[in-house]
Amino acid sequence: MRITSRLVVPFIQIYGIYVVLHGHLSPGGSFSGGAIFGASLVLVALSFNLETGAKQISHQTASLLESGGVLGFVITGLVAIALGGNYLSNRAAGFPAGQAGELFSAGAILIITVFVGIKVASTIVTLFYNIIEGEK
């Protein structure tokens, strides 16, 4: 089990990052990609012992990343106000929009997808650690 999980975990992480980054081109998006990435870290903590899992992402880093995800979402909306438009607007405010079908198109969608993906992944890791080792 340990050899298999050590071989498989990098592929799961690459697949999770692929699903998050191609959120506007293929089915998937922020929630499913973040869940896949978080599940790979839980797999490392389950097949080895808990200290090896805590070395991948420590508790402080997971809490910081989770708060940073929500903050990034809110600040993107405020940037849209600063660029001249309504709150959380995409084309009317002037985000750079490339051609349809490229990877870096539709400005605000890519930024928001990455932020929410980071948030969901650290949510799953934080849930697992708190339920397993609560109250010491």
Partner: protein, 122 residues
């Protein structure tokens, strides 16, 4: 009878209702509390199935625009609303499981009937 042909044509909704009833039966009769949480998840899944099955037409494809003359796309609106519902279901399941962990540490059992007996004897 036209009612029987109506039910057989809309078999997706009938399967959703049967799943809901199975979840409700498990929640009412089994005493283990983790089985009740699993049954709540089954009921949530049945509601999602019924909502997403509303927006389908025969011969439709996934709503990802491809270059082509005219292809029928499925309705994207119910699927976009259910994404929020799935996240809410996950949150409620996580909170219910954390409450079960606290109850197990206090009473020492995960059985609902035994907990009622312990509480009625104090």
């Amino acid at each position: 009878m036209e009612m029987l042909s109506g039910i057989i044509d809309n078999y997706y909704y009938m399967v959703a209702i049967i799943l809901f009833v199975i979840g409700m039966y498990t929640m009412l009769t089994h005493a283990n509390m983790i089985k009740k949480v699993i049954a709540m998840n089954i009921m949530d899944t049945s509601v999602f199935l019924m909502f997403v099955a509303i927006g389908y037409t025969h011969g439709a494809q996934a709503p990802i625009i491809k270059e082509g003359a005219d292809t029928i796309y499925a309705n994207p609106l119910p699927g976009a609303l259910i994404l929020t519902g799935i996240v809410v279901a996950v949150s409620v399941t996580a909170y219910a499981l954390s409450l079960i962990v606290k109850i197990y540490r206090y009473y020492g059992t995960c059985d609902y009937d035994e907990i009622c007996e312990i509480r009625s004897q104090e």
